[in-house]
Symmetry: C2
């Protein structure tokens, strides 16, 4: 196992700037598993700079649970996931949240990458050919039974067997719809927002997203400019990145309602299930979305039980990787809430499209109101980068989870001793 | 600043064993702040072994926010707390939960220790002499306003000004009621449980606690034995340490109801606000308690808003130290829920009594149904250890937060190179 602290100096251009994160350096606590057969499994957790070293140290601490274990097949991957999250002493540091959970995500995803490579399939197809029983066996059912039982999950998965072959072919032919956040970073001036919004529509996107929450008058001006640039037919989501309290979220969003926001994203703390429920109730018909910072399946369960969200924005590496996301996809299906994953950062687009494509082939069986976030940063560092055509994610074809970064990039951006950091 | 990884090999005797934590090695990620005047501030976060090194690394990462800053007075301590929890890049790893938040707790508490030492007062008296405005200024109000506003907090604190001098004198004379968990560890046999339960009552305790949740028949037998050993007049709380799903919590606790449990503690995941609310509703009149693993003020806020708990069990070093606990004490007062802090581990008794004593002098102004957990382990390692007399915590008199471990203990139990670990 190799662990690498990789950081990209994105704060220099204000890419990724929002109301809570003014100067992120998009980073990855990156892990490579080396198997006896010479194959590799790649995974990472995404951070925005400082503390990436702590995630790397946490991955090293979990090495004993990974090195020497079997990762072939869903049963072995289910066992690995549970070992990584159930160590009683390490569990004390969470449980199932924060740095240790991010570290587990990197390792779980690397193990799935290795398994899918061995099977010669891109992860979304590898997942799609598992039996319902195999999928259910990958999930940690503790704390879920008041919302979803294994039997209900089996029923959902069995129902989706019908038409699966056709949906796989459809994904391979047409891809999966995307929306783009690239126009809307808070550090961009109005002209840049308008130009990028127009370019997004010209490129085929039907939804874009703007960051809001730092200054209401700025938000109104930017939103008005973007709306008039793209017209009424394009969905414009807005994203406050946890900036507000409950009352403030309601008031601020109402002050932007005339520009027809498609959803308000992260209006308040990701921990605040009841806060989101209150905001959604008071803002209807404006829709509420959250998830990129939701720590685990237990909080997603409650967001769904409380009717707190219209869109569930899972993240590929915030919760403990593929296994926990299988539970989250099934929960979302049970409650009828569309999954619109969080992406961007570095490598999140590459990962998350696999999960949405599996959701379509094997769980929800619909793309209605479902879009995957897309941001056009840092894809050049990956060996199998995301391909967008006509505003849609094209289906990954290379075996694995698309998590592998190029060796040159790993060297150049390794922190603090890579050339990119030494020279600045 | 010095950071020390201290671990005690408690797993060798099954002290501290419960349904989720079979073999804890009580540990501290320990920090010493060295001030220019030669004084020191001591703080730590408590863990149960593996991963303690990650907490130490996290504390080192936060060093830049502490070294060179002013800690004199509540305004400076409020600023320090906000700097430690608001760094946007580090916030991404939580926010405000898990390893980085535990690290912030150690540093915040160390800073308060230093400030109280400089004032020549034990922390509970140092807090008690702050003005309502100073207390309110120490709190991070973000995400709280739908449950408690600064103005409401000021009203609570001002009301408690009346009689404060008398309550301080009462604390100094009579101390604060304790309950003991020492009889009830899951690894103990029935004979030991009965013997320790009888000794606890003889020593003046009116409440004890038993661990449950591994095996129902074992729980019934142990609870029956303990109940008949102490009689009906002694409160016996039970603690499942997050072992159950919602339905299972209700069924298991009902199967123990004939032995008259005072509360059921941690029936399910600490993240599951709605789960706790459902359990409490279905178990009434059996009471529900939780808090030792509740990650921050936002989750406590929701537990109170949802009517999910009868007792709030704050922890001195799980949330971000004194500042965040000030918010939690005020929330509990607003919602009329007694605070019965979590303690035990290593050093938590030493810390937490300061918070309960401040709660009595300056916030709730009552001890009704309020008790502080006590466990008789590892106190010998502290320079100002907890003193219990007649089942009551005696008021700490030494200046500071009672967090300082003896130098000999820090050397002997430092991990992995201290003599205690090298020889085993």
């Amino acid at each position: 196992m190799d662990v690498i602290d990789v950081r990209f100096p994105t704060s220099r251009s204000l890419d990724g700037s929002d109301a809570m994160n003014p100067d992120p350096d998009y980073s990855a606590a990156y892990v490579v598993l080396h198997a006896d057969d010479g194959r590799e499994g790649h995974g990472f957790t995404f951070t925005i700079g400082r503390g990436n070293d702590i995630c790397c140290a946490a991955i090293e601490t979990l090495a004993d649970y990974v090195i020497g274990t079997d990762v072939d097949g869903p049963a072995a991957l289910g066992e690995l996931y549970k070992r990584l999250t159930h160590d009683s002493q390490i569990r004390w540091l969470g449980p199932e949240k924060g740095v240790m959970h991010l570290a587990a995500a990197a390792l779980v995803n690397a193990a799935w990458d290795l398994a899918a490579r061995r099977a010669g399939l891109p992860l979304w197809k590898y997942l799609s050919q598992l039996t319902p029983e195999e999928v259910v066996g990958c999930i940690d059912w503790r704390y879920l039974s008041d919302a979803l039982t294994p039997e209900e999950a089996l029923r959902i998965l069995r129902e989706a067997e019908a038409g699966k072959t056709e949906r796989i072919a459809e994904i391979e032919r047409d891809g999966y719809p995307a929306y783009t956040t690239s126009p809307g970073w808070l550090g961009y001036d109005d002209e840049k927002v308008v130009r990028l919004a127009r370019e997004a529509v010209a490129a085929g996107y039907t939804q874009i997203k703007l960051k809001v929450g730092a200054d209401l008058e700025d938000d109104r001006r930017r939103f008005a400019a973007a709306r008039s640039a793209v017209g009424p037919g394009i969905r414009i989501a807005i994203d406050a990145n946890q900036r507000w309290d409950v009352d403030q979220a309601v008031e601020w969003t109402k002050a932007l309602a005339e520009f027809d926001p498609w959803w308000i994203e992260e209006p308040t703390s990701p921990d605040d299930v009841l806060g989101h429920a209150a905001i959604r109730r008071r803002l209807a018909p404006v829709k509420v979305a959250t998830g990129e910072h939701v720590q685990n399946r237990i909080v997603f369960k409650q967001l769904l039980q409380a009717g707190a969200i219209d869109f569930l924005q899972l993240d590929a590496a915030r919760v403990a990787g593929v296994n926990e996301n299988l539970a989250i996809l099934l929960l979302a299906k049970k409650f009828g809430v569309p999954v619109c994953p969080h992406a961007g950062g570095v490598g999140l687009c590459e990962l998350v499209c696999h999960l949405s494509m599996f959701d379509y082939t094997s769980v929800s069986a619909t793309m209605e109101d479902r879009v995957i976030e897309y941001v056009d940063h840092l894809h050049e560092h990956f060996t199998a980068p995301t391909v967008i055509e006509g505003g849609r994610y094209q289906a990954p074809a290379a075996p694995g989870f698309s998590a592998e970064m190029k060796r040159d990039s790993l060297v150049r951006y390794s922190y603090p001793h890579g050339p990119e950091w030494r020279s600045n």
